[in-house]
């Protein structure tokens, strides 16, 4: 187990290194430069370039950046004067994290429940309803879901606030909009996983032992059916977090997504880089945790990977 975790950590670090390098290269390849839109004398421009280190060779810039990165310093933003990237992240990330966590919580809890209910009532009306909800849910992109919810619940019926993030009522539409796709996905996965487990021999053993239906479902089916779901939690977290990009702009929430998209469009090199690195590190860590978690919940893996 220890060796396995160590290996996973090393891979994660490599992933991060590749990510930072690729993003660094891509950012430098972007057409135009961050100062082109502003009116400035060549002198000022030169000073700015020196200030940000653009006059040095790219390799040196890269090494300088990596050096700072190791110390956790993501540098200064180029658009927001005198604000560090760390400060922007510190301010924006809590919104995104809060939104993402709410969406994930809704998606996983409701999704698992629907999947189980659906599988246990196979070919009955309730299963059909769950399947339809799930398949529609996985067919509507989150940004469209966001607008649909905003339009009906906010604009047409005026039930819930449609913008900003200032209390529980404000969180409902964005987190449902963000989580709906994942909810549907989880319920589909759980349903098929449950249907697979239902056919397993050990379920028959449990029946032969006289275990109650409830007990069989809880102890034998769900426990085993949930394992494959754990493996997709990493990618699911990633998709929910990227979903925050658009959901935040739809509901005017001052989170990471809003800054990210605008920084890409305004070529704010350091902000793009910093946020990507932060975002990547976050996801890589999430994946790492999921992998380790999987080792813990599945006793077979625990030994095999020992």
């Amino acid at each position: 187990m220890g060796r396995y975790i160590l290996k996973r950590i090393l891979i994660s670090l490599a992933t991060l290194l590749v990510l930072v390098t690729v993003v660094f290269a891509l950012v430098r390849l972007m057409p135009g430069d961050p100062f082109s839109s502003e009116k400035m004398t060549p002198q000022v421009r030169q000073n700015l370039e020196r200030y940000y280190g653009f006059d040095k060779p790219v390799l040196e810039q890269y090494l300088t950046y990596m050096g700072r990165l190791v110390r956790g310093d993501l540098g200064y933003s180029m658009k927001y004067a005198n604000v560090t990237v760390n400060e922007i992240i510190a301010k924006a990330f809590p919104y995104s994290a809060d939104l993402g966590l709410r969406a994930l919580a809704i998606a996983v809890s409701v999704g698992l429940t629907l999947g189980v209910v659906s599988a246990l009532n196979r070919k009955k009306p309730i299963d059909a309803v769950c399947v339809v909800v799930a398949i529609i849910g996985t067919s509507i992109p989150d940004f469209i879901m966001g607008y649909v919810l905003q339009y009906f619940f906010g604009i047409r019926w005026g039930l819930l606030p449609i913008a900003q993030y200032k209390g529980f009522a404000y969180t409902i539409l964005p987190s449902v909009g963000l989580g709906f796709y994942t909810l549907a996905l989880v319920s589909r996965l759980m349903r098929s996983s449950m249907l697979e487990v239902v056919q397993q021999d050990y379920v028959k053993t449990a029946r032969a032992k006289g275990a109650s239906r409830f007990r069989i479902v809880r102890k034998h089916m769900i426990r085993n059916a949930i394992l494959p779901i754990v493996t997709v939690l990493g990618p699911i977290t990633a998709s929910v977090l990227t979903g925050t990009f658009v959901i935040e702009s739809i509901f005017a929430i001052p989170g990471m997504g809003k800054f990210y998209v605008s920084s890409v469009q305004s070529l704010d090199y350091t902000l793009v880089l910093g946020m990507t690195v932060f975002f990547g590190a976050f996801l890589v860590t999430a994946n790492l945790i999921v992998d380790v978690l999987y080792g813990i919940v599945d006793p077979r893996i625990r030994v095999a990977r020992g």
């Binding site: 397993q200 021999d201 050990y202 028959k204 053993t205 449990a206 029946r207 032969a208 032992k209 006289g210 275990a211 109650s212 239906r213 007990r215 102890k219 034998h220 426990r223 085993n224 394992l227 919940v297 599945d298 006793p299 077979r300 030994v303």
Partner: protein, 341 residues
């Protein structure tokens, strides 16, 4: 004569599939007396497992359903029972040992807990009692270091060990009948002997009746008092183990015996496979299911099902060769498989 524990009368059981109805069991009758070991032998797909699983209604229903006949456990028809009554029977009245301990044990549950589960939700058995009875049974089936083993997961145990756990699970509720469905098929030969010995030993100690389902005649010879030979969803021959091995009356049984390898040298016939494949149970042949593969088949065999003839001492056979019009046939004499009765 004491009442049979399990009395199966003309049972037919089918499955509905897209291709039509699969008639897995077609009019099977047999009985099991208290404390007796009854063998059911036949090749895969002959309906032996389906029949056995009817006793606890373990076949998936639907698509499975009873087409006709009855299956009485201690005088009550299991097909008349509700889910609740069936649950009370399972594990407590009839214990089931499955074929493959690898897939029939839950991979994510500790083995001790899986044995204890037999008592879950049963009135009058406390948690502690369940635990101590499980441990007792695990020790009885020959698992050493129970305190450690009970906390392990199935994949940490060897195949033989897992089958011991399965047997402990079947026995821990002290049932009057154990149904063992190919209990040794997936095990090594050396382990097989141990497991069979264990079953026999436990039967002596606990007085449990056993239905042993297998395609292995050696196992039958070693263990069983009485034997039913099934083919194509029907019982073709039944009787005491000696009748089956030494006074073989059905060509299928003879073929089955002829296809078993033996070490004994005084029987030096060559090993013979039965040509062909078992009948398609979507549309079983109208006559004897074995007619198409039978060297002695007559026209009548293909057209109408053979009646059951009673021979000496409870030996019965369903074969037209016993009819007065049929030309007498000497089935090839065979010695019983190794370690014969």
């Amino acid at each position: 004569m004491p009442e049979a524990i399990l009395d199966v009368q003309d049972l037919s059981y089918s499955f509905r599939t897209y291709g039509g109805e699969v008639q897995a069991v077609r009019g099977v009758s047999f009985e099991v007396m208290p404390g007796e070991v009854v063998g059911i032998v036949g090749e895969s797909g002959c309906g032996k497992s389906v029949t056995a699983q009817c006793a606890l209604r373990l076949n998936p229903e639907p698509p499975g359903f009873r087409r006709g006949g009855r299956m009485l456990y201690k005088g009550e028809d299991v097909f008349a029972k509700g889910e609740r009554e069936l649950r009370r029977m399972r594990g407590a009245e009839i214990g089931f040992v499955f074929q493959d301990p690898m897939t029939y044990l839950n991979p994510t549950m500790r083995v001790g807990a899986q044995v204890e589960e037999v008592f879950a939700g049963r009135p009058g058995v406390s948690r502690r009692e369940a635990r101590s009875r499980a441990d007792e049974m695990l020790a009885l089936v020959g698992i050493s270091d129970v305190a450690r083993r009970r906390e392990q997961y199935p994949h940490e145990l060897s195949g033989g060990m897992k089958q011991r756990v399965m047997i402990a699970m079947a026995l821990v509720g002290r049932p009057s009948l154990i149904i063992a469905d190919e209990p040794t098929t997936s095990l090594d030969v050396t382990i097989e002997a141990q497991i069979l010995e264990l079953l026999d030993d436990l039967r002596r100690k606990l007085g449990t009746a056993i239905v042993l389902i297998t395609h292995d005649l050696g196992v039958i010879a070693k263990m069983c008092d009485r034997v039913y030979v099934m083919y194509g969803g029907k019982v073709v021959e039944s009787g005491g183990a000696e009748d089956i091995f030494y006074r073989t009356a059905h060509p299928y049984t003879a073929g089955l015996l002829g296809s078993v390898a033996r070490l004994e040298t005084d029987c030096d016939e060559e090993l013979k496979a039965i040509e062909g494949t078992p009948p398609d149970l979507f549309s079983p042949p109208p006559g004897c299911p074995f007619a198409a593969r039978c060297d002695y088949a007559m026209r009548v065999c293909r057209e109408s099902p053979a009646p059951e003839y009673r021979l000496e001492g409870g030996h019965r056979v369903s074969c037209w060769l016993r009819h007065e019009y049929a030309e007498p046939v000497e089935l090839p004499a065979r010695c019983a498989p190794e370690a014969a009765v």
